[in-house]
């Protein structure tokens, strides 16, 4: 009978699960490293594979976006987490605030990573940078310079696209604006940008490039690496989105381009601390920095590593001078401003 065969299928599945649970408990003798990451592991897999090849240490990963810090904190003393990989200063600072990291003293890391891109106490280290920049229509935008302040200029009325103001990337940008201009001016600015929007914020950064191609808007805000992913990917449609835009590296008046970090931290109760240290130092080696730059089109943190040609074609990056720790501090304010001006409404 149909129901019976379905039940039999259920039992087979249950047996398979039992086998799975058994196998996950058995491996304990070999050297391992457990990575908790908010960054999809596929993005860094070649680096991880290379690390395993070099050291013989097996890498286990779990990819969690929202709630990673809560999980490590709840797991407490028994947490298997060794290394935390995450994107955005907000997340790195949050990990420290949550008390799920521990201080690291490493000459190798400190030598390579500029002081601005690591925690003074060694709770986190930036390993690559990305810029939050302006995508401009090749067809309709002639200027090749712009400031973040200009996004609020009425000349762009109905011509600006952006993803949700509450997205991590935009929150950090708005926090940087608060750091530059103070809260009141930043609020004015945000209102101005809101008034210029061609449509309600939605989608991801790529969708904004798509909207430019479609003629919905002339300029948009997005991260640098997406452009490279669109242009160099397999997808012919996405290539068209990438080809429709020029990237302008905007600057703050009296500052530079807003950059953010992707970085690492040592988990507070790391059971494989020695392996974790090896891994963190490996991540700033020439080899891994080079793979990383090619794979993800981020700006390498280490001087002298070749930048991905697509990214290099945007021109020289002059990173903003606001301390990134300051940005972390102002994120809550920024998030409240977004609500206050009804940016996403």
């Amino acid at each position: 009978m149909a129901n019976l065969s379905f039940a039999r299928g259920l039992l087979c599945g249950a047996a398979a699960l039992g086998a799975l649970a058994g196998s996950s408990l058995s491996a304990s003798a070999e050297e391992v490293l457990n990575i908790y990451t908010t960054r999809e592991p596929g993005l860094i897999k070649p680096v991880l594979d290379e690390f395993t090849k070099e050291t013989g240490i097996k890498v286990n990963t779990i990819f969690i976006n929202n709630g990673l810090e809560e999980r490590i904190r709840t797991e407490g003393a028994n947490s298997p987490a060794d290394v935390i990989i995450t994107v955005d200063i907000g997340r790195l600072a949050a990990a420290k605030d949550y008390g799920v990291t521990q201080a690291v003293k490493s000459e190798a890391l400190e030598k390579v990573i500029p002081a601005a891109y690591r925690d003074p106490e060694g709770h986190w280290f930036g390993i690559a940078l990305r810029g939050r920049v302006v995508y401009a229509s090749k067809e309709r935008v002639k200027q090749d310079k712009i400031s973040y302040e200009e996004l609020a200029d009425p000349k762009w009325k109905g011509k600006v696209c952006i993803r949700s103001g509450q997205h991590l990337y935009n929150i950090s940008l708005i926090a940087a604006m608060i750091a530059h201009k103070g809260e009141a001016k930043a609020e004015e600015w945000l209102k101005g940008v809101k008034a210029n929007l061609a449509k309600k914020p939605s989608g991801g950064d790529r969708e904004q490039a798509k909207d430019i191609l479609a003629g919905v808007c002339d300029i948009a805000v997005g991260n640098t690496y997406y452009v490279s992913l669109m242009l160099n990917g397999k997808d012919e449609e996405q290539k068209k989105w990438g080809q429709a835009i020029n990237v302008i590296l905007p600057t703050f008046e009296g500052g530079g381009t807003h950059v953010n970090v992707s970085g690492l931290a040592l988990a507070k109760n790391a059971p494989n601390k020695a392996n974790a240290m090896k891994f963190m130092e490996y991540m700033v080696s020439d080899a891994s920095q080079q793979i990383h730059a090619e794979l993800n089109s981020e700006y390498p943190i280490k001087a002298g590593i070749k930048i991905h040609p697509t990214i290099a074609s945007f021109g020289e990056l002059k990173a903003d001078n606001v301390q990134i720790a300051k940005i972390a501090e102002l994120r809550k304010k920024a998030s409240e401003l977004v609500d206050k001006v009804g940016f996403d409404q």
Binding site: A2, N3, S202, K332, A334
Partner: protein, 567 residues
């Protein structure tokens, strides 16, 4: 009205409270507490915070997001509700071209996850999506400003996306009810001169109410708790506010406070629905009925019916599946199918199977106990079971983590005392946490469906069994479970499909190196390469199809038996 006359027969057995054995009471209390565990943890987290965020929320966030939430829910109730009920009534009471195929196709969107549909609809209908680009090429338009096209990234777009995949919850419930409704009632009404539409309105629909309420509440809770689709489509629901408060303002306590307020609303709605149902009974006499005899539609009406039933299938199934298939072939994604993929596939199936079996066992326990003895414990346990589905997946997972790790640490400590070894995390370190989360989340689907199924069985059957000296155990095994069988089968399949699709709790609770098909799709999407996850998404749909087709088959098998006139 009709139902009320029936209650006279079986009234006595429903009101007389009978005692249930101590072990059953203990088990009921345990199940109730298990479901209340994350709710309790949520309250605990909420209590940790102060009211600091509320002035900001009340001034700037809640008015807009409450309106968006209400508009979304009302929209989904209206669109998905009318899609589900209309199609169910059309295919049950009529014959028209394509009807026999549509019966099979209509429940299929159930297998397509909402967030995947949202991504696909954007790929297809967005400004530079397939449809608009083709239109431009054809018409020679150059810019979006030269023509009008509905915006998919919007509230109406979100209502459309959600309704397209959520209507089957209502369709399935409604169809099951229409199928088992007695033809004689409808025929009496017809002889009295009622039109078919009136028939539907005054007899079929009111009688289907308990099942419709279950179906509609499942669909609305899905819509309310969704985060992926609404965020991507730019709808700022209360659930999105919970996330923003938690992630951007670093206030888990504040987020928990909003979640508690939302939960209070949901509980309020559940209670109102129960209150509205309190003194109606929907039991039919145990004799087999002829089911409604389908009327053959002709000409324009027939084609309208075909079109009305084909639309939802097109929107909720053919379009998304077609897109996934296209991407899979176009991107050469079949090569992703390797041993890793197979392992993720097995994990998905294994987790879903174990959770489904557990849910069914617990639901039978709860519902049978409540049927045998209506006391505050059985009622309370049933009510608690309903709460699991009311929590957004991420909130459920966050609430579960503390008790799970607490349990793990306890076992770990005992283990260390006994053996001197370090055990690590038992439930969180393996798949135990995910299974518990699935059980809590989907228990109410089973209890809802089983209760609705049993509600329609006249208590006179059990009274007869009791008079003949049946023990309580015999009542459950020989009377109730066989009678619940159709409901049990459909609940099993719904839960299995829901487990396969589940994302947020799986994501947060899974151990190292463990992926399910859903998390795999999510991985690609969070890389910004959603299309690369098409194979995994397609497999989710295909795996989901197996139980959905079973569901249709068992539902369609019944009328055959019933159509032979017995009475």
């Amino acid at each position: 009205m009709i139902a009320r006359t029936q209650t006279a027969i079986g009234f006595s057995s429903q009101t007389k409270a009978k005692r249930i054995p101590w072990w059953l009471s203990a088990a009921l209390a345990a199940v109730g507490l298990l479901v209340l565990l994350p709710v309790g943890a949520l309250l605990g987290i909420a209590a940790e915070g102060d009211a600091e965020i509320w002035p900001h929320l009340i001034a700037n966030v809640l008015p807009a997001s409450t309106i968006d939430t209400i508009a979304l829910l009302a929209g989904v109730a209206l669109v998905a509700g009318s899609m589900g009920v209309t199609t169910a009534w059309l295919v049950t009471a009529h014959r028209f071209p394509g009807r026999n195929i549509l019966v099979w196709l209509l429940p299929l969107p159930l297998a397509v996850p909402t967030y995947i549909t949202a991504y696909i609809y954007v790929e297809i209908f967005d400004s530079a999506g397939l449809v608009q680009m083709a239109l431009r090429d054809f018409m020679g338009w150059r810019s979006r400003s030269e023509y009008w096209f509905p915006e998919i990234r919007s509230l109406p777009g979100c209502i459309l996306v959600m309704s397209a995949v959520l209507y089957p919850y209502i369709y399935i419930a409604a169809r099951a009810m229409f199928l088992t409704q007695s033809a004689s009632m409808l025929e009496v009404a017809r002889t009295l001169g009622a039109s078919r539409i009136k028939l539907f309105r005054i007899i079929a629909l009111p009688l289907a109410r308990p099942a419709l309420a279950v179906g509609l509440s499942l669909a609305l809770l899905e819509a309310l708790n969704d985060i992926g689709a609404s965020e991507y489509l730019g709808v700022r629901t209360l659930t999105v506010s919970v996330y923003n408060t938690w992630l951007n303002r670093g206030s888990l306590a504040g987020a928990a406070q909003i979640a508690c307020v939302m939960l209070a609303f949901v509980v309020g709605l559940i209670l109102i629905e129960r209150y509205g149902r309190r003194d109606r009974r929907y039991a039919l006499s145990p004799k087999r009925h002829r089911t409604v005899h389908p009327v053959t539609l002709k000409g324009g009406r027939a084609w309208t019916a075909s079109l009305l039933c084909a639309m939802p299938v097109l929107l909720g199934f053919i379009l998304p599946t077609g897109f996934l298939l296209r991407e899979t072939l176009r991107g050469g994604l079949v090569e992703q199918f390797d041993t890793d993929f197979l392992a993720h596939f097995m994990t998905t199936i294994g987790l879903s199977v174990v959770a489904t079996l557990l849910v069914l066992a617990l639901a039978v326990l709860l519902v049978s106990a409540a049927r045998l003895s209506k006391n505050s414990l059985t009622k309370g346990a049933l009510l608690a079971a309903g709460l699991g589905y009311a929590l957004p997946g991420t909130v459920l997972a966050l609430g579960l983590m503390t008790p799970l790790v607490g349990f793990d640490n306890l076992i770990g400590t005992i283990w260390r005392h006994l053996t001197g070894e370090r055990l690590g995390l038992l439930l969180m370190g393996a798949a135990g946490g995910i299974i518990i989360a699935y059980v809590i989340r989907f228990l109410s689907i089973a209890t809802g469906s089983l209760s609705a199924g049993l509600d329609r069985v006249s208590p006179s059957l059990e009274d007869a069994a009791r008079t003949l000296g049946a023990s309580r155990r015999e009542m459950v095994w020989k009377i109730q479970i066989p009678l619940m069988r159709p409901a049990l089968a459909s609940a099993a399949l719904l839960i299995f499909v829901d487990c396969i699709k589940e994302l947020p709790a799986t994501l947060l609770l899974r151990p190292l190196n463990t992926e399910t098909l859903s998390t795999l799709v999510y991985n690609y999407a969070s890389r910004g390469r959603f299309e690369d996850g098409s194979l995994a998404a397609l497999v989710i749909v295909l795996v989901g199809l197996v139980p959905v087709i079973q569901l249709v088959r068992s539902a369609e098998a019944q009328p055959k038996a019933a159509e032979t006139p017995v009475s």
